[in-house]
């Protein structure tokens, strides 16, 4: 009996070993189509030497109906950015956003990559950005106490993702926001949480959804969370995302701390992201 148990145990150990080859220890293929998931980063980065152009666009609120064709004719916000893969794991990028004249630099490092064999079950990436608010000085309180450093804000996030199978990927990301300068009633240091996922439905078409929430309470007002959903179409060189979202600032910290669009009141905006890979 003992020998039978020993044999069974040996087979349990040996059979999976035969099932594995070198490919099993490689990182899983594209847990997400691109480095963006609606209003957030994913664990995906450009490959070494790869360049990405990103165009993010948010129309106005849909609440005015046909008058402005559900926000398409309303004032919109746009961000254009370039990301570059220094290595397969390290990305740097820079972008510019129309509203509030926000200029950003960003970086992302893939700390852990989920393997095809499952020996590493999740991917973990560290994302950070630094944003310069380039509006005039009088947007930062009394001129007498103004310093250039008051224009800076930061966002860091630890993105934990798992690709469950070919169809489904999910990620959760706690974040930390720091504004050098805020008005009374807002906190300089804030925590946030994000959760989102992708489900492939038909060939290159996927469904996307995400939720973002600021965790730190503010005295001045109550920043609203974001609940967004849309579709993504991926090709070899492009990824198109089109969705409805509450956020419109295109920069994580600005969205999280200042958003007033409330999904319970239908304050949705149509938006799209285009990623071009070179």
């Amino acid at each position: 009996m003992k020998s039978l148990i020993a044999l069974a145990l040996s087979l349990c150990l040996i059979i999976p070993a035969f099932g594995q080859d070198e490919n099993d220890d490689k990182p899983v293929r594209s847990p997400f189509e691109t480095s963006l998931l609606i209003d957030n980063q994913t664990v995906v980065s450009p490959f070494k030497g790869g360049l990405q152009l990103q165009i993010q666009h948010r129309f106005g609120t849909v609440k005015n109906g046909i008058t402005d064709i559900f926000g398409i004719y309303a004032p919109s916000n746009i961000r254009m950015a370039l990301n570059y893969g220094i290595t397969d794991r390290l990305m740097i990028g820079a972008g510019t956003t129309k509203d509030y004249k926000l200029q950003d630099v960003q970086w992302k490092y893939a700390v852990i990559q989920q393997t095809r064999s499952g020996s590493i079950p999740v991917s973990v990436s560290y994302y950070g950005n630094m944003v310069i608010d380039a509006r005039s000085k009088d947007n930062f309180g009394p001129e007498a106490s103004y310093r250039d450093i008051h224009r800076l804000s930061y966002f860091t996030q630890l993105i934990i993702a798992r690709k469950f199978n070919f169809k489904y990927s999910f990620q959760v990301a706690p974040g930390f926001i720091y504004y050098n300068s805020v008005q009374d009633g807002l906190q300089n240091a804030n925590f946030s949480i994000h959760a989102g996922g992708r489900a492939r439905v038909l060939g290159p078409i996927s469904i996307l959804a995400e939720y973002d929430q600021l965790l730190t309470k503010q005295d001045a007002f109550d920043p609203k969370p974001n609940l967004a959903a849309g579709i993504e179409i991926g090709t070899a060189t492009h990824a198109f995302q089109i969705f409805f979202a509450n956020y419109s600032a295109l920069i994580n910290q600005r969205n999280l701390l200042y958003n007033t669009n409330d999904f319970t009141e239908g304050d949705y905006r149509l938006g799209f992201n285009i990623t071009v890979r070179f």
Binding site: D99, I120, M130, N139, S181, V182
Partner: protein, 124 residues
């Protein structure tokens, strides 16, 4: 789980560098939200019209009111967009309260428009 030693070293060095950079470039500063200055005379020509330079692309070609330099005053005052009895209830202020074209209720442009309405929305 197999994580390479050099990956851990890279993350450690990267964290030290970024933390050092943040500590050097961080400050904790808060300021009172801007408010209307009762000692200032808000001029339509000098304070308000320059704000509308960025608005004329959509107003009036797509939306009312007409914010072109020639027609902005008439369009705002006769179109029901300003309320000098309750300036904060003015239609233009309520629109900016929602955040509009990069202006919100903390922007100096918002304070100038509110100050101008508070002082009677004159064509000065």
């Amino acid at each position: 789980m197999r994580i390479k030693k050099h990956s851990i070293l890279n993350v450690f060095l990267f964290s030290i560098l970024t933390t050092g950079f943040f500590l050097y470039s961080c400050e904790k500063y808060t300021y009172e939200p801007p408010s209307v200055n009762p000692d200032k005379v808000y001029s339509f020509k000098d304070d308000i019209l320059p704000i509308f330079n960025n608005c004329a692309a959509c107003h009036p070609s797509i939306h009312e009111p007409d914010l072109s330099q020639a027609n902005a005053y008439t369009s705002l005052t006769e179109g029901g967009y300003v309320n000098t009895d309750a300036p904060e209830k003015s239609k233009i202020i309520e629109k900016l309260d929602e955040g509009h074209a990069g202006i919100n209720n903390n922007s100096p442009e918002y304070i100038d428009i509110l100050g101008w309405i508070t002082q009677g929305a004159k064509n000065n």
